[in-house]
Amino acid sequence: MILKLEHINKAYHTGKLDVPVLHDVSLHVEKGEYVAIMGPSGSGKSTLMNIIGCLDRPDSGTYELNGEDVLGKDDNALAKIRLMNLGFVFQNFQLLARETALENVALPLVYAKVPKKERRERAREALEKVGLGDRVAFTPGQLSGGQKQRVAIARAMVNRPGILLADEPTGALDSHSSLQIMELFQQLNEEGVTVIMITHSPDIAAYARRVCDIFDGVISERNGQVNAAQQAERKAEAEAEEALARMRQRSAERLRHGSLTKEEPS
């Protein structure tokens, strides 16, 4: 098992209030899996991603990565884990604007103390793999959104980590670029990379082979062991959403017919 999170609790302490974010979250991921974590904003999915990415620590619970406990490690050890085992892809790309695509991709290799010549070779290879072999000298400003995200993916993969963590990777992209990114993820996953992706879009989540829902800090497996309470909650939620949709439709129709009178929905 490549990832093993158990009974993770996390709350944010804002002044006197403790705002719970994650509640008893357990997540097991096998090597080579492709998992999407879905949830609306505020559901705690980003916090979960940060914990998986060794950027944040839970209040309680255990987390093993490659069979190794990570929560007991110090910051430098976590930095090394991020460097060697994890690749990050962000919604807003997070490329360094002044550096070329090649330099951006080579950045993790700098921290891994790879010699300069090898850095350039490996960064070029990684860019070729994402189909940007002809854009190595371009700065992010000269690239389209989809190309920027592909540079970011090349950067995430250049150190050959086992796990790719993507936080809304298509959030800032049009549907065509999104498709390309998803194809790239598919390809990486087929090569054996474990992909964990956060998204709020069902269309994107559909690319994953396994989907987990997170809602109000509680995680549940779709198509699987979902408990009755959560199911009921989900049902209520779905009904509410359906009602809302009907209401919107009706208002839209009324607007079209020129009637602007306000009416309570039945």
């Binding site: 944040d56 910051d75 990050f88 997070q94 360094l96 300069k116 950067r155």
Partner: protein
Amino acid sequence: MLENIRLAFRGIASHKMRSFLTMLGIIIGIASIMSIVSTIKGTNDALRDKLVGSGNNTVKVSLSSGGQELSIYDASSVPQNVQPIADETRQKIADLKTVKQVTLYNKRFVTDSSVFYGDNSVSQFNMYGVDDVYFDTVGYRLKTGRAFLESDYTLFRKVMILDQVASQKLFPDTDPLGKTVEFMGQPFTVIGVMYEPDDYEPDIQTVEDYYNNQDNSNGLFFIPKADWPIVFNYDEPENVIVKATSTDDMTTAGGAAAKILNQTITSTSDDTPKYQAEDLLGIVKSQQKLTAAANMQLIWIAGISLLVGAIGVMNIMLVSVTERTAEIGLKKAIGARQSAILGQFLTEAAVLTTMGGLIGVGVGVLLSYLINRFSGIPVAISIPWSAGAVLISMLIGVISGLLPAQKAARMDPINALRRE
């Protein structure tokens, strides 16, 4: 490290105006310190050249009493309890590591006799009885004629060398070479006329300086030391001039020679004169200290502008860290250790101030030349100070970059990434 320097240059280049303004404080501070130091060094070098002479490095070790050089002007003023210097004592001095050359000489300020040639005569002058290396050691050159030869000493030839003043007085119209003059009832043949190639202006600061200069203003007369007892009837105590191996060794060489000479004086009575080395270098140093002290306050003021510059650098670095929050967050997320981030920002600050320092040294050198050009104050550029100034600038960068760099290194990557 190289990668950090590359990043630093790229960062500086992307904010040219801001970087320049930040550097300006350092530039002004370093430039003013450099020009002040150049002025101090220029004045000090000039002082040293004037007093010590350049490249001669000779130290007079003469019999003194009560801190004053003993003046022998007649038989009664010859100290009775000091013997002429023995050959082995001379050898001991010559063997000193700091000593390059030694010469012994007798000297009398002649008041009771004159040198005559025909109707012309000179009185009240310094007569020197010198050995065959004296001219070479002291650096006197012959204008015409020949120097003293070894045979002059072995054969007790009565020969004489004059300076140009004496020559002018005794032989206003004729060539002095080969002429015979009379001194103390003895005939002396003039064999040469000497001059001092280092034509320095006499530096008159004390009454003693004044009299010494007065003594020499009537001309200098040199005869072989071997003739001294013939002329004056007695062996007289001798004085010594040592040539030090380097200017910095002058004080040591003179002191060591005086010590060796004083060991030969056996008499312990209070009126016995002692050998004392003139300490020109010491005088120069104390004068140099005065100039330096007067200018030290200026350096402190310039130092304050450097401090202000350092604060400016810290301020801009703090702004830069805040601006680049997202970059720092990303770097930490992809695995940069705290030390890597710290190093990046420290390097950037150090590169910034080192550039400022280099420009400052350049401006300082330019300023020094302008000062020299328009006010005539001597300036000299000190290479160690220039190198030191650049190094100090680098240090300022590291120190003022420390706080901002630490702020960057300790940044929480989650908050940092969320900012954008």
